[in-house]
């Protein structure tokens, strides 16, 4: 399973522009150059959603916790 399906991964553009101060001043999280990269809150990394690691936790975990 890849970061795309991990609960720690967030690539929402509005979230990224809040996290990276100044990103919207000379660039944008809504442009194609960013691809679909996002932030891993577990490891404080900025990375592609195609990456994988041993800390993976499925998104469903969030759903089940919320339920």
């Amino acid at each position: 399973m890849t970061c795309r399906d991990c609960r720690y991964f967030n690539n929402d553009p509005a979230f990224l522009e809040r996290e990276f101060a100044g990103l919207n001043a000379l660039s944008s999280a809504y442009g194609t150059a960013r691809g679909e990269d996002g932030i891993c809150s577990k490891r404080s990394l900025y990375l592609s959603p195609a990456k994988q690691c041993k800390d993976f936790v499925p998104l469903d975990t969030v759903k089940s916790l919320n339920d």
Binding site: A25, A33, S44, L45, Y46
Partner: protein
Amino acid sequence: MEDVKKPMGWKELYLKEDWWAIYLGLGIVIAAIAFFYTGNPFLKSLSVLPPSWTDSSKLVGHFSSKIGWYALQFIFWFIIFSISTRILGFRQSEYIPSFIFLYILSIVTLIIGEYEPLSKNGFEAPLVALILGLAISNIVKLPKWMDAGFRVEYYIKTGIVLLGATLPFTLIIWAGPIAFMQATIISVVTCLTIYFVAHKLFGLDKRFGAVLGVGAAICGVSAAIAVGGAVKAKKEHVSITIALVTVWAIVMIFFIPYFSKFLNLQPAPVGAWVGSSEFADAAGFAAAVAYGKMVGNEEAAVRAFTLMKVIGRDIWLGIWSFAFALIACLKWEKEECETAPKASEIWWRFPKFVLGFFIASVIITVIASQYSLAEFDKVIKPELVKPIKSLRSWAFIFCFLSIGLTTRFRELASAGKKPFWAFTIGVIVNVILGFVLSVLVMGNFWISKTAQ
């Protein structure tokens, strides 16, 4: 969260601002052509701009007679931007008041920038926009939600597509390869300088060195986040690079035009210099337009800048990003790299607005080829190109103001000495090399090419 789970793929056609910039820019070009062939002056009237003035009665007279067109123009921008930003995911309760504020401030900026005693002394509209924006965001402090309307990249990308309609495609074909070679030399030297200073000299992480390097060498913050994601950079390293790029980009917006003015340089070589040494499209356009206006030849500076920055640097971002992803995967993280990067990333990261720029250039070049040079100057320029150019000026002013309004120096990440000096050494190398190649070595080439 469902959207996050599936690759975006072709949904980017409506979820990425690059595509909206193409739709808007090409939509304006097509409308301009339709109005031109039907002899309808609507778009010409809609693209109204404040005139140069010294006597306030001229200004009052202008606004008294054109106020209806300003209102219509506002409605035009407002409808298009609010629909597209809504689809992109912005709250309209935030975007709408913010854009109204931006439009009013744009009129104020243009009025100040067109005041001849100021503009003749190097205080042009782009610089007025930046200073005004920076003052408001750093002294008055607008609420953060207003950033929704200050979409620097969306406005500049729209402006670049419109710019394509004023740039002959033949010029892109003839000068593009030279721009690419010149920009590549400067980019590679700058990137390697920063990487080696950061990693070998200061012992910073390789990924950090790479992100800092491309931030200065390719296209600023956009390159930093593209390569940052490709090499799996630490979040704080991306933040620091964004801060350094932003500060130096703002410095260069003022330094290059005023230094060039001091040396009394031609606009085309300065445009090329800005194109090779400024860090972001938006900042570069501000510097190129400002200098072009200072010396009374905006087109030459903007054309050379565009060739160097967009053709020479921007369109190669996907390849740089892919190359660094491969290096990171095969050399830096052998154990962790379970999936090799895919070459398709080059396409997905390609700055798509450039496609709109090319298409606009081809369309207008084909139309212009049906007329003689005299007819082009007499008919095409004032009736077809001028309205597009005026609307481009509006898109640029929205952008320049937005740069200032979103640059809050106190919020930027503090860099630390090593990253600061690694980046700064790269900036110095970049600016000197850019000056030597663009002004001293290739200066005459840029003057002759942009004069066509």
